[in-house]
Symmetry: C2
Subunit: 335 residues, 2 copies
Amino acid sequence: MQQGKQSIRFEKTPYIRSCASIVGKKEGEGPLGSYFDKIIEDPLAGEKTWELAESQFQKEALTLALKKGNLEQNQLRYLFAGDLQGQIIGTTFAMKDIGIPIFGLYGACSTAGEALSLAAMTVAAGYADEVGAITSSHLGSAEKNFRFPLEYGNQRPKSATWTVTGSGAFIVSSSQGSVRIKGITTGVIKDYGIKDSMNMGAAMAPAAADVIYQNFQDFDCGADEYDQILTGDLGSVGKEILIKLLKDNHYDISKNHMDCGIKIYDDALQDTHSGGSGCACSAVTLAGYGMDKLMKKEWKKILFVPTGALLSTVSFNEGQTVPGIAHAVILERQS
Amino acid sequence: MQQGKQSIRFEKTPYIRSCASIVGKKEGEGPLGSYFDKIIEDPLAGEKTWELAESQFQKEALTLALKKGNLEQNQLRYLFAGDLQGQIIGTTFAMKDIGIPIFGLYGACSTAGEALSLAAMTVAAGYADEVGAITSSHLGSAEKNFRFPLEYGNQRPKSATWTVTGSGAFIVSSSQGSVRIKGITTGVIKDYGIKDSMNMGAAMAPAAADVIYQNFQDFDCGADEYDQILTGDLGSVGKEILIKLLKDNHYDISKNHMDCGIKIYDDALQDTHSGGSGCACSAVTLAGYGMDKLMKKEWKKILFVPTGALLSTVSFNEGQTVPGIAHAVILERQS
């Protein structure tokens, strides 16, 4: 049960019953476009604001995940949910009428890992049979929240990432599914003193390296335990740092590491610079691409490691650093 | 284990091993002043910004709770923590160097209930032996985040609450303590269409009424099951609505209800209008006053119901409503 310093190995292993990925137009045009369940072409998703648009993506993702899992809404006992916006209003206005007990989460772009971890803990302990884990992000609401409103039209440096518009939803179940959550490793906050909000990859890489290292330690394994290690949104800058930090600690993940942020866009064609980011980046990449690879038996066991940069405009403007966090989830296909 | 529709009755009941309440000057001068562990007179707590001051309150609360529980920091396996600030930076900068696996939470002023619920679930399931649950708020950072910076000197309407400056920390333990967490009832979001960010009590009262009603239903009990029902920060306006809503549903809690927001200040002397609010309001009132009443055997069993108003300046300025949420925690002294 308690495994090593920061991990849990589930005895009654919960399943991923179903999942759904809803993305925006740009994500749909990217290399993973065909893996996503639905592409909403209108960036406002029929709403009046970026914030309500984000809520709409979340609503659709949950609805579709339930449908794919043959569940009614009222069969969900809990929701673990979060987003990037201040006071997670994307989640509030998505879930305000749904009537399901909800735990609001904030782990920046690591929230998909946090939500899956807590959902798995809840189901494995017998507190619930069906639990939703859902996260979202939206380019419009995120740029307004963290950098500049889109309408301002500022230039973006090469190290900047592009916030993924979308939402990924997972139904964690006690009884059904082809992929199991075998264990989790919960991350600690790591502060390497990065102060550049346009270089999130460098801020998050140490936290990712730390939680992956700890996962190897706690489960007494190495990189070859996993067919793939999927980090959240380190981008090309952060990926390089991650691989170096783990090499310094005698682990080589270069052969089976992919970063969802790098995978989701084609920088040469889509001008996205360092890659995708946002709570939705890792969530839709896992729900779309990752689960497909598991189901098609191309992968058997993976380590999913969403990564978050912990800042706000207030902390940034007050000259604070950007600490990072990452949470790891072990997913394995039933043979 | 699963109890009714929204509740858990713990089989292996976790304990509150220790707790700590650190407050600001105004809270120290209020009716509960003598119950708090420490009063920090300087509103900046020796820091340069309101935000870092809030982090300092959180650090001191956790340190003191650990000390009172005879625990070293590294004996905590998890932290469940949150605050009111956008992207919960109060928590980030309090906990960034502590090296404990952390789940960041956002439930507005209900966060103390959310943190205690998840900490209890984690300990009762055997995932950890010692877990921290900690929340904070600060008048300066909250006014800046939600209304007007203090420096602006705006007038406050009579229905407005005063954000409590402070932090409450609890150590939830598998083995030690005189008070047990017997069960929890997790709330759903309730939206009654309130749009006034200066009248949070009215926004939160329906969520509080709903979760208390559900607690009575799930555990097949009524108001007399508890020596006291402590809501978070409804204030005088919200208290009236809460009692009426439950009366409409045939429960009378008027005789054993107290609201932490009303209790923490003396409006006549302190000009706080509708009462206290903020994540710290319920947390320090429970950690200081409530736990004292339990330990002195004046109360045996209580229902702790922190209440949260779910809004941000963005949602408010975009004309959205202020939905509410509340989470209930059943605390009982060992005979």
